[in-house]
Symmetry: C2
Subunit: 334 residues, 2 copies
């Protein structure tokens, strides 16, 4: 199986990120500063979260879209930090729900400090992100961010209720992905359009771009759970299945394999562990069915759709970077 993550990451990535490197550095600083608090636990766990890092892909996309529209101010930097805080609040609550012990190679907040404090920390970060967005007085941005966050939470709810269902359909899976991941990408990319009311015509194409990129991102994320290495992912391979989530390679494979193989998957979902099944058995099943490649093809399609959405947008270096971003997402290894 010639999995694309084996390719070398193109050197262009850093060149494009260079366009917003200063603003990404400012975003980091704002992100860090807004996790400070006179409540000792918030201060301590905030430092821990900040030190954990992250890909910061949502802020990068927001900043590139702002640059595309010729924007150069502190305002988009604040919003870049806001979307990253929203994303982090989600991860923090997700790790409680999934009983996750590791994230980015380190103990999760819930593992380290327990569920109670972690629920409240997530709440605090969500509200902090909204409070930050208020600073620039732009109510339309807040509306957009609230809507994106609501759709995301709905996606999480649907995911929790349905992703462990052995009869999950591809359509259902894509609907969940669309809400759970793509809507916050769409919001991040659209924020610059609502920052100036005169560019509202760009809201739709930027939203379309972000949504397609978000689906592509999630599909690749799901693939990496099959093809990645624990050392690169910061968590074990097949974590999704172990935590009770079916993703596309398995959803595509399940209707094609025999009852005995389906039973293997069912056992892991039931046990939330690999006590009765070897991970290798699952990996061999999806390899034999070729469904990792099929899922990758679907990710490639969404990458193409993202690129086409850019046709309506102004040219320049930011647009080149946005055109390249889907490749970057397709080729990421972690």
């Amino acid at each position: 199986m010639a999995y694309p993550a084996e390719k070398t990451r193109p050197p262009r990535a850093s060149r494009y990120l260079e366009l917003v490197a200063d603003k990404l550095a400012q975003t980091e600083e704002i992100f860090r500063r807004h996790l400070e608090s006179d409540v000792p636990f918030i201060q301590m766990s905030g430092e821990y979260i900040f030190a954990g890092g992250g890909k910061r892909i949502r802020p990068a996309m927001l900043l590139l879209c702002a640059r595309l529209l010729g924007r150069d101010s502190d305002e988009e930097v604040t919003y870049a930090a806001v979307v990253e805080l929203i994303h982090n609040a989600t991860l923090i609550h997700d790790d409680i729900i999934d009983h996750s012990e590791l994230r980015r190679g380190r103990e999760t907040v819930n593992q380290r400090w327990g569920n109670g404090l972690t629920v409240l920390l997530g709440d605090w970060i969500y509200t902090t992100s909204m409070r930050m967005a208020v600073e620039h007085g732009n109510i339309e941005v807040i509306r957009l961010l609230c809507d994106g966050t609501l759709r995301m939470t709905e996606g999480e709810l649907l995911a929790l209720q349905r992703l462990a269902a052995i009869d999950l359909s591809v359509d259902e899976y894509l609907e969940i992905t669309q809400r759970k991941t793509a809507q916050l990408f769409a919001a991040a990319c659209s924020v610059p359009a609502v920052m100036f009311p005169q560019r509202l015509d760009l809201l739709e194409p930027l939203g379309h771009y972000g949504r397609s990129l978000g689906i592509c991102f999630q599909l690749v994320d799901d693939l990496l759970d099959f093809t990645g290495r624990e050392s690169e992912l910061g968590k074990p391979v097949l974590s999704d299945l172990k935590e009770g989530r079916l993703t596309l390679p398995l959803i595509l494979a399940l209707p094609r394999v025999g009852a005995a193989q389906r039973q293997l998957v069912r056992r892991v979902l039931e046990d939330r562990s690999f006590d009765r099944v070897e991970p290798q058995q699952i990996l061999e099943m999806v390899e034999a069915e070729g469904t990792v490649d099929e899922a990758y093809s679907l990710a490639v399609e969404h990458a193409g759709e993202a690129r086409r959405a850019l046709d309506a947008l102004p040219g320049g270096d930011a647009r080149e970077a946005l055109e390249f971003a889907p490749d970057f997402v397709l080729n990421r290894r972690s």
Copy 2:
């Protein structure tokens, strides 16, 4: 012990609530409508939460303060629903943290549907409340509500870390109460002042009123845990202690009693149960020390402070109602 909850609730309460009865009914409708969703779980649990009712004291205070300032529009009704939704989101997450099984005499959301869905439902309701507040385009109101929510969450965090500490001081307890409960009351009462920028001079007295009333409310809430009846409270007596929270009657009593009695309290806090201690032993301890009455006296002081804050505010029927509210809070039984 002549506990005030044994008094009859004054008939004036309903007369004063009558002033905002129509708007409270509209608030209920908006509250209910905003818990509707195309996600089946949100729809179902939203109906469950709405049916559970509540005292709606925060919306009532907000609506009375709006009336005091001569406001009569849909806008304050939306904000009244917003503060009640924020309050409900908090309760939903608190019940996860406290492992509570009962609220208002019914199963809690976490008991019924599990922690995972409940974490996400709370998130959804928090974000929905902010999304609702956006509707009227008043950014200052959103700022105020975010700030109130942040202080409340900080209070919850401090409470979770410190309220089970046998050496908790009265000052620490009051600081926690001030954030955990009083800040959302203060925000609810202040919203009408920021609705019209020309009445910003009233922000401080309304905030002061709400904060004092909120502390009074929490002190009485804590007292009821010692003096109430399970049938009225919808949860067992001494639930706070059982869930690991010391409140003022015990905080005042602990330094005065002997080691053996302190040990009783410590055991309940350790076990999170009354397996080794009889509730009656705890009730007799605080009765002997007279600390329920002392805590009640402190609640009376804060009620007086709330009333004095009204001196700076316009007269009329709404002000009479606000002057009466502290008595209502002091005399409530559930």
